[in-house]
């Protein structure tokens, strides 16, 4: 697979759609939506996860999604029935695995060799370094619930 200088929105969309359809199926499509640069993620309750790539290219991949979407994702991945209890630990596990797959596949597009960190998950918006620069972003909705995937690099790199 050939590498690229920096991931673009189309790359993020392609990778995210591949992950989404593999684990959530194709019945409900992931629909991209336009949001102005700098527009904050617009879910009221948010789960987020981040994973860093270091080596031939360095950056951070972040997934933010509404709490409702995080619950549904967890329910599908753990094959839980509607009404089954879902713990924060389950949510963190599923949301972390989501960014692991998205980040790993973005890493494969970038110059290597490089390493992938373990994911970090939070109940709330993602935090970024003060010199982080957003290089690519996908805003989308799935089953009416918002999700954002973004890629940041550091100004110093």
């Amino acid at each position: 697979m050939s590498s690229i200088a920096a991931p673009e929105a189309a790359d993020v969309q392609a990778v995210t759609e591949q992950v989404w359809s593999s684990f959530l199926g194709d019945e409900e499509p992931l629909i991209p939506r336009f949001m102005e640069p700098g527009h904050p993620f617009d879910a009221e309750e948010v789960w987020s996860s981040a994973i860093s790539i270091g080596g031939g290219w360095s950056g951070t991949v972040t997934v933010e999604l509404s709490a409702n979407l995080a619950l549904e994702l967890t329910r599908v991945m753990l094959a839980l029935e509607a009404g089954d209890p879902i713990s924060d630990e389950d949510l963190a596990d599923a949301v972390g695995e989501l960014v692991n797959m998205v980040g790993g596949n973005i890493k494969s597009l970038m110059p290597g060799p490089s390493v992938l960190t373990l994911p970090i998950v939070a109940a709330g918006r993602a935090a970024h370094a003060s010199d982080a620069i957003e290089v690519a972003r996908l805003d989308a909705v799935w089953a009416g619930e918002p999700v954002r995937v973004s890629v940041h690099t550091r100004a110093s790199e």
Binding site: M77, D90, N105, K107, G112, S114
Partner: protein, 127 residues
Amino acid sequence: MKALIIDDSRAMRSILRRIVAGLDFETFEAANGQEALDQLNDGLMPELCLVDWNMPVMDGYTFITSVRANQGWRNITLMMVTTESEQGQIVKALAAGAHEYVIKPFTPDAIVEKLEILGLVGRGIPA
């Protein structure tokens, strides 16, 4: 047959468990390479290990090299199931003794196809 699923994500272990249990494997789980080695040392002898790469405590590559260093475990089939998709990583894992390599995200069919190639399931068995 027995399958040991090694992944730090409970969600991913759940997905893989459903796939291989559907192929009539008895499934066991470990959250990292060390936990898996502990189970092997305690006498578990699976025909198949599905191994993630990036895990805390002990990663999948270290697990594979540890298994291959023990002649008593030479009959265990090792399949990496990971987001690590750089060519160099794939070559490294196969050189260390992994039999097959599946990149996440995957479909159940992709896992079944690899197991068919490895002769661990008959062709045409539904996932």
